[in-house]
């Protein structure tokens, strides 16, 4: 364990936070009005910084703006030429091919298996290396007496700026309780009272306490159980193998994927009657230079694969910056500090010791408010990597009693203690971190994209959450839409007697489209992994 290394400025500011703390216990800061929120977002939310976006010049979303890093991957060449692989002798031949081994992919595989399909998972890292594993706070479901799917619907719709696709949101809220029950019956250990009542809290933007949790390991607990279930069922998992190109049949329907062994580089062909993309998010593309809370493989691969075969995206311009990423110490810069810390009572405090906002506004509003406090108002606290705002964690035990932090948010306590910082005694410094891809591939209520036999589930989907997702609706969405995609992909596979002739003709077509649009690039995609060299001059100079 290391020693804490606060700057003098930090120590002075902590004194102000401590001085104002007693007056803040039991006091609830005012929530912003709709107009105040709109003005704040327009001026300070990264989604509104036009200069960091690019308008797509070709493809199904031609004319729409997306982050420039994503544009350069969408409008790039395939990693292969059609002649590089032998499509006539597939290495794998299955009913349902699931690309991605996170929560959505595993749920899809379990349900496809349950429905009698011959299903296989491919994943570029280990099974379970996914954002699901890192989701800390919890999963929403309207299962309490004072709650209903209707109330959940309105919360998510308002939080998403009324852009959520209604039939997808309907599915999310009405199948939420069923999803939690499914997990419970698989053996996920939810936090419960002695009488079995689920312990639920608020998340930013919820009007009812419907956040179910498994301490602050909610996603890890769900992922461990789903992975175990996949193994128990004998579903094959081909790990360290990335899908680098989709394969279509002669009628333009999805029919498999070209795979690449991440270590040996070997190319393999998987033929499938239906394909499920469950590749997750894009945090490792570090839009606008933000750090990220995402796992190592979050590079928007699924969006690239789908776009190249003609599947349109929806809301790809909107990202979620989680308001509370770690700002200090530098070793865990950008790591997630779960929203549950604020659900338990910790407030956001500026350098002067002032509670400058309600701690449970929606994530986009909270992130923008923190950015404003640091940038425009100059009330941030300087760190090695920029600025931060205090998250006053000692308030939690002042409100709920000693021991609460260890009991309810042990992962957070441990993460900071490893570097010598005890959040029970001193507040922690936070700043927004790139957390979630609100947009993604467009799907219908059956989980299928606009390309026939190509299904999508999880963070790779766009539309469920509109332009801003609420806390706890992502763990819910990977289960609801993962299961849905698995069931429907299995059913669709049953209707296909024999897959048509496999082709990769779309690669050439796409290259021609790039050329016609005047795009000159030597970039190939999907990216698969980020590259970090941490300031080593030998590498960074290049």
């Amino acid at each position: 364990m290391s020693d804490a290394l606060y700057t003098n400025e930090m120590l002075e500011s902590i004194k102000k936070v401590e001085a104002s703390r007693p007056s803040r216990i039991g006091f609830e800061p005012r929530r912003m009005t709709a107009d105040e929120k709109e003005a704040l977002l327009a001026k300070f939310h990264p989604d509104y910084r036009k200069e960091n976006f690019e308008t797509l010049a070709m493809g199904p979303n031609k004319g729409e703006r997306v982050p420039e890093e994503l544009a350069s991957l969408l409008q790039a060449h395939s990693r292969i030429k059609a002649k590089d692989v032998d499509l006539k002798n597939p290495d794998y031949d299955v009913d349902v091919l699931v690309i991605g081994g996170g929560g959505a992919g595993s749920s899809a595989a379990i349900m496809a298996h349950e429905n009698g399909a011959d299903v296989m998972i491919v994943t570029k890292l280990r099974h379970g290396d996914a954002n699901t594993m890192m989701a800390e706070g919890g999963i929403q479901a309207a299962d309490k007496e004072n709650d209903s799917p209707m109330i959940h619907y309105v919360d998510a719709l308002g939080g998403g700026h009324f852009k959520n696709v209604p039939e997808l949101l309907y599915k999310l809220v009405t199948e939420g309780p069923g999803a939690v029950k499914w997990l419970n019956d698989l053996g996920v250990m939810f936090d419960k009272e002695a009488d079995g009542t689920m312990i639920t809290t608020h998340g930013g933007g919820t009007s009812r306490k419907r956040m179910h949790a498994a301490k602050d390991y909610s996603g890890a607990e769900i992922m461990r159980v789903l992975r175990d279930e996949v193994i128990n069922r004998g579903i094959p998992v081909v790990d360290f193998t990335a899908a680098i190109e989709l394969i279509l049949d002669e009628n333009g329907k999805a029919a498999g994927a070209v795979l690449k062994n991440m270590e040996t580089g070997e190319l393999l062909v998987a033929r499938a009657k239906t394909v499920v993309i469950a590749t997750g998010g894009a945090g490792r593309l570090h839009y606008q230079g933000f750090p990220t809370s995402n796992h190592y493989g979050a590079t928007a691969d699924g969006l690239v694969l789908a776009y190249r075969v003609g599947a349109p995206l929806l809301y790809a311009y909107t990202l979620q910056y989680h308001p509370t990423g770690v700002a200090f110490p530098a070793q865990i810069f950008g790591a997630l500090v779960t929203e549950k810390v604020r659900s338990l009572g910790a407030m956001l405090i500026n350098s002067e010791g002032e509670a400058f906002m309600h701690p449970l506004e929606t994530r986009d509003v909270s992130a923008a408010s923190i950015i404003r406090e640091c940038n425009e108002r100059g009330k941030g606290i300087q760190t090695q990597n920029g600025y931060g705002i205090w998250l006053d964690t000692p308030m939690i035990e002042a409100i709920h009693g000693a021991g609460t932090i260890e009991k309810r948010i042990p992962a957070m306590l441990r993460m900071f203690l490893k570097y010598g910082y005890d959040m029970r005694e001193k507040p922690i410094l936070v700043y927004p971190t790139l957390h979630y891809q609100n947009g993604g591939i467009k799907i219908g209520a059956d989980g299928m994209s606009d390309v026939e036999n190509l299904f999508v589930a999880g963070e790779a989907v766009g539309g469920i959450h509109g332009e801003n997702r609420l806390m706890g609706n992502s763990l819910l969405d990977i289960i609801v839409f993962g299961r849905n995609a698995g069931i429907n992909a299995a059913a669709k596979a049953k209707t296909i007697d024999k897959t048509g002739k496999l082709t990769l003709d779309h690669i050439k077509r796409f290259d021609e489209e790039l050329k016609a649009a005047g795009i000159k690039t030597d970039k190939v995609s999907p990216q698969l992994l980020p590259r970090y060299t941490h300031g080593n001059p030998k590498y960074e100079a290049k």
């Binding site: 290396d129 299962d143 799917p149 209707m150 309907y170 309780p177 419970n184 250990m189 009272e193 042990p410």
Partner: protein, 224 residues
């Protein structure tokens, strides 16, 4: 100039900034990680590492993403350790003492050396949770093991060849499914939905004009 330290990555010496984690130090040295790197955040167990500091015989362990480098650190990764994972149908088994005996009988060979506990990067009391599993006290085993990231370092150090993370996972699933009290409010709501109780109100809600929905959102009552 940053403060630099010498680390020996799988035996080879590199000079790296002292504030880096083991994972970042490997990348600084030029590695493009494929194995031994997952969530980079202490949750996934992909980056289990063992190390010694020159002059100190003690073998230490840690997650590469959560452990800072030190001068003269000799470090190696254990990106995958073969543990025994028995398969079962969760619907067919019950939290009886016999089930552990059937699936993971090696836990009864524990010699009490406590090497597992000493090696846990999450500081869990591993030997204690194995003792609970031996006695069929699955709820206690589940609670004690809850923060396990399944990195497998404990199993790598165990002379009795126990697969601790898998034993704990079985205990947790048994606890979640069979031992924890049932949530009646959840089952009731699932039945109501299945019964179609919300079909009509949802339809009415979704048919409302946008302005009315906005109004509902902006004026909704928020539970204290």
């Amino acid at each position: 100039m940053e403060n630099m330290v010498n680390v020996f990555i799988m035996g080879k010496k590199y000079s790296v900034p002292s504030e880096l984690t083991i994972m970042d130090a490997m990348e600084y040295a030029g590695y493009q990680l494929v194995r031994g790197c997952g969530c980079r955040n202490g949750f996934c167990g992909a980056c289990a590492s063992v190390y010694r500091i020159k002059g100190d015989p003690e073998l230490k362990v840690g997650l590469a993403c959560q452990t800072k480098v030190e001068e003269n650190m000799y470090v190696a990764q254990i990106p995958a350790f073969p543990v025994v994972k028995q398969t079962y149908d969760i619907n067919d088994i019950r939290p009886t003492e016999q089930i552990m005996m059937q699936l993971y009988p090696e836990i009864y060979s524990c010699i009490g050396c406590n090497a597992c506990t000493k090696s846990c990067p999450q500081s869990l009391n591993v030997m204690q949770y194995i003792a609970y599993a031996q006695r069929g006290e699955y709820a206690k085993c589940a609670e004690e093991s809850f923060d396990c990231v399944m990195c497998g370092i404990c199993s790598s150090r165990c002379p009795a060849q126990i697969s601790h993370p898998q034993v704990a996972l079985l205990a947790r699933r048994l606890t979640g499914k069979y031992i924890a009290p049932r949530s009646e409010h959840l089952e009731k709501r699932v039945d109501e939905i299945k019964n179609g109780d919300y079909a009509e109100p949802m339809k009415e809600l979704m048919a409302k004009p946008l302005d009315e929905l906005k109004n509902m959102y902006n004026n909704r009552e928020i539970e204290k």
